[in-house]
Every structure is written in C-alpha cells, then in structure tokens.
Point group: C2
Chain length 340, copies 2
C-alpha cells in the first residue's frame, strides 16, 4: 500500500492541491466546509505528510545526533535518558551512536550525522580523541554542537560540565578528614579533560593539606573497567606499604578495587578507604557500599539538550549564538567504604 498523497485527496474531492494543503493547515481563506471535507478524507485515508518533502521545504530534520563513548554504562545511559526525554518534549528525535572510545569511529560518525543533516549534535568525546578538526567541521558547517562530560577546551562551543577539579578535591579532602595519610589515585587516561582535572583536584588537596605528592601512587588506567580496578588494586598493595586511602576516577573501577581487597582480606575501610566518582547505582548495593561523588547524568543530558535546542532556534531565526558553559553541582555521597 503506497502512502496517500495530497494529489489523491485533491483529485478525489475535485479541488486543487493548494486548497487541500491550505485546508490541512487551517488557512483562513478556505471555507469551513471544505476544511471539514479535506480533514475527514485525510483521516479516512490515513494521510501522513511526507516528512522527506517537509524536511526539504523547512530545511529541518527535527532530529539530532548524539555520540557517547559507551552505552552500557550507568552514567552515559542516564545522560541518554535525560537527552531523549527532553528532546521528545520539543518534538525532536535522537540518533544515538557509540564511539567505543575510538577517535576514528567518532570522526566517521560526525561525518555521517552531518551528511544526514541533523539539526544539531551532542557529544562526549572518546578517550583517544586529541585532534578536533572533525568538531571544528561541525562548527564551520554551522550545525549547533554541545559537548558534555568529556569535552575539548579548545573547541569553541557550548558545554555542560561538572567542576571535576573541585569534586576530586572534595573526594580527596574527605579521605584526609577521615584520617587517611597515604592516598593513592587511580586516574583515567592522559587525554580526556575530566581525567586531567580529577587528577589535579586530587593533587591540590594533598598539597593544601601538607601531604607530599608522590607520583608513584598515581596509576594511569586505560579502559576504566572493573577488571582494571581489580588489577591495579592488587598492583598497589604489591608495590606500596601503608596506603590507607584511594581516590578512584570512576565507580566501576572502584567496585573492582573493593572486590579485589575483599578477596585479599584487606578490610575496607579499616585498612584502606576507597572513594569513587560518578555514583553508579550498583555502588549502593555492593559490600561495603561505596562512598562517591554524585555526577548528575540525567540532568547533564537534559541541560545539554536544552542548550542545543536554544542554539537550533537561534540559528533558525538568524540570531547570534552565544556559547554557554553550564557547570552542574556534585555531591559527596557518604557510604561504608570510607571511615566516619
């Protein structure tokens, strides 16, 4: 069954296509009687406006693109949910892509979304991304772009963030306040801005509290997995004595570390305190439950869409786009893996 066209409705009623089109859009210069006739027939025939033709006319697709490094991930799935819920309210659909932390894939996906003529793009960068030409291409293509979580400082666009440095400082300060003196850090890879900032927050808290910074206590992780958490927890106790606290870049890794300590009969928090980052749901159900920093994924997603929506509308109305940097609050969530 082929979709019904305006032409068929016009022919059936013996009126012009223009009149049909105007009737469906409630133009005042079409009589009430004609409008009723057209609308009834359109409904009976299950008429749907051809969205491709509408797109061609309005130059809008009413879709946006979203690229995240990983979907099966509590933080990113919360962000996706926030974006989709907000987009739906404004009549936008979201095309989601996963970069798998790969720069090459991310670059291709940006190209794909631009070819698709999405109205805007939301992105959290892959860990591998160190070159920003693909993002600058989005900007020079005049397509609104909003970055969140893993952003590039050098790209001039709107961003939704938390204050990673301050939050990491808060986490490390909590370890110090509860008596830890030799504090390790499992950090993320070298490139992403958020793993740099969390590391800097950790370091600053040590220095501000008169604790000598020891680079051998900082481990650089690659894929931020549960397995890496286990591996580096073992490595840490093999290589160092007397470590009594760790600040870990992401909850999933911290959960791996706690599991490893449990299996090594190292008591958390009595022997070593552990604090994570992001507040994944599962952090509240493991034993001991994980003290962490709450990173509001759902709100980050909502806010990122709102900024993008504003820019899409500014562009449509030929207004100047002012880039914004929105910083959302984080909270320290106290649980069992640190001392009271």
């Amino acid at each position: 069954m082929k979709p019904v066209t305006l032409k068929q409705i016009a022919e059936t009623l013996g009126i012009s296509i223009t009149t049909v089109s105007k009737a469906l859009k409630d133009y005042p210069d079409v009589s009430k009687k004609t409008k009723a006739l057209v609308k009834d027939l359109a409904q009976t025939l299950n008429y749907k406006p051809n969205s491709f033709a509408v797109n061609l006319r309005t130059k809008e697709s009413k879709t946006i693109g979203l690229i995240v490094p990983e979907i099966v991930h509590h933080f990113f799935s919360s962000v996706i949910k926030g974006i989709i819920s907000q987009a739906e309210k404004k009549g936008y659909l979201v095309i989601t892509l996963q970069s798998n932390e790969s720069y090459d894939l991310e670059r291709k996906q940006i190209e794909l979304l631009l070819n698709k003529r999405v109205d805007g793009i939301l992105i959290s960068l892959a860990n591998q991304t160190a070159d920003y030409n693909h993002l600058n291409a989005v900007m020079s293509n005049n397509t609104p772009l909003v970055m969140f979580d893993k952003i590039a400082k050098l790209v001039k666009c709107s961003k939704v963030l938390i204050n990673d440095r301050e939050a990491a400082y808060k986490a490390t300060q909590h370890l110090i306040d509860t008596g830890c003196k030799k504090i390790a850090h499992f950090r993320g890879p070298l490139l992403p801005q958020n793993s740099i900032d969390r590391f800097l927050g950790y370091k600053k808290a040590l220095i501000d509290n008169g604790i000598t910074y020891d680079s051998s206590l900082v481990y650089i992780l690659k894929d931020m997995s549960y397995e890496e958490g286990r591996f580096y927890a073992k490595k840490l106790v093999d290589e160092h004595e007397g470590v009594d606290g760790i600040f870990i870049n992401t909850d999933l890794v911290a959960i791996g570390a706690i599991t490893e300590f449990n299996s090594l009969k190292i008591k958390v928090p009595e022997d070593i305190s552990v604090i994570g980052f992001s507040n994944w749901f599962m952090s509240s159900v493991i034993s001991p439950s994980l003290t962490t920093i709450n990173q509001p994924g759902f709100e980050i997603g909502k806010k990122a869409f709102k900024l993008l929506y504003k820019e899409i509308n500014s562009k449509k109305n030929d207004k100047i786009i002012n880039f914004k940097e929105v910083i959302l609050d984080t909270q320290l969530v106290l649980r069992e893996s640190t001392k009271s």
Copy 2:
C-alpha cells in the same frame, strides 16, 4: 554559511546541473576530465548531497526506530548497543525512544516514527500494553517491524526471543536440585508475555518435581525495581515461614531481595536460596553474588536488527516477507546465592 548546491557547482564550472550530478555519481557518459573538475570543486566547497532530497528520491531514510521501556537498564542498554553496532555496519542510523512502560507513550512514539518514515521499527513492549492496534498499524503501513523480549503473540511479525518458560524451569529446577522445598516466585506484571512464561516455567518445574504449587508464594510485582525487591523480600518472610528458595523475575529485583535479607540477618543461601534472571553485571559483584539465568542482550539486539534489515531489503525488492521467530539460548550462571 549555507550548504553548497549542485547548481552552484554547475554555474561555477559553466556546465549543466545534470552533468554535475552525473559526474559525482561516476556516470560513464561524462568525460574523465569533467569528473575530476567536478569532484575537486565539490571537495573544495565541502559539498554534501542534500539527504532530504535523496530521501525523497529513494523513499528511504536509512534510519530505523527503536522503542524500549527503559534505557538505564543493563539488559536494554545491552540490546541497544547490539542494535546500534549492527545498524552502523549496514549504514543505518537508530532513533531511540523510551516508553517508560507506558502504553500511551508507546502508541505516540510509533505514530511519530511512522510520520518520520523510518525504514523499520524495533520494539520491546511496555508492561501496560494490552492493545495492539498501533503495532498492527505499523504492519498495515507496510513498515517492517521486529519485536524482541517483551512481545505480543497476537501480532504477526518477526520476533527475537529466549525461551522464557524453559529458562524459568531451569532456574527453578536448580533450586530444587540444591535442596529447596518451599520455593517462592517474584513475578513481573500480569501482561507481558515474558513474565507469564517465566511464571509458567516456575510452576511446571514445581509440579514435575512433585512439589505442590501454592499461589500465595507468588508475588506480582509492578515496576521490577530494586526497592520492590527489598519490599517483597520483607513481606515474604513476614507472611511465610520456612521458605528456602525464591526464583525472581529480574536480577535488579533479586539484588534488592538479597540486600533486604542481608539487613534482616537472613543468610543467603544457607537460610534461603535466591536465583535471578537476566544476568546484569552488578549481580556478579554483590555479596553474595547472584546465581542467575544469562539472557544475551547484545546478541538479541544484533539479531533483531539483522531480521529487520532482511525485511527492509525484501520490501525494497518487492519480495514476500517471511516472518521469523528466532529463539536464542540462555545459560544457568552459578554463583554464591544458591547452594552447591
């Protein structure tokens, strides 16, 4: 900056639009020299074919729609990942929507996707969905539709499933084999086919093993949350004595139940054995870790897209579409929450 058009390229080179179009598509009746000129200029000007016009011509959007009840959910996010990874390989983009288990929302989303003229739709039904007119509308609109996980038996379309009844039987049999005699069941809501089938598998295993079925040991949950797991675990021990095993419809609920038993000082599995369903990642890191049935989310997603892709192509080539029902394997995953 407005996108460059074929017309501009044609005017710049002083040739016809048709020649430009043919040159970009490597038609044999355009000289090599002209092709080189056109392609070089197109690249310099960053020319991109207008995807809306391409859609209008090919009547294809190269996008598909996906509706899931919930995104922040280990099983569904795994399915989404499987679908997106497979779709990308075939050059399709995926629009994801979340029904929040609401029939009304699901119906609107189907309408939205049809209006958007997606090439196909993948769906796992909301718990509330008991009326299938919106799905039949997809079929009568001649848009390929594949259902997975929560399906409607009455809708004639392709489906990707596990054998829920058999898997639930296997789970319950494991409780019986490890010595449980009074076995409760936390089931899902009344409507979804998979919660019906899991309940039937549980019941059949009891009967086949000569254990009298007691309907008061079956609790009907609403939203399948962690909190419900805690609530019903408490209710179960308040209402019954001597229950030594539970089969729980979903891992998340089982994790809630184990947490509640831990806090009530009821030992798992010594006092009560717990078996879940789905194999969420966090089931392996809680204490005691959860014995469960592995439901292969990523593979379900991949397979669902593959079926849809086949149907999209059959439709394009005016071939008859044969609906398929693919049943994927499940495995019993033995951990600490059941006896050995």
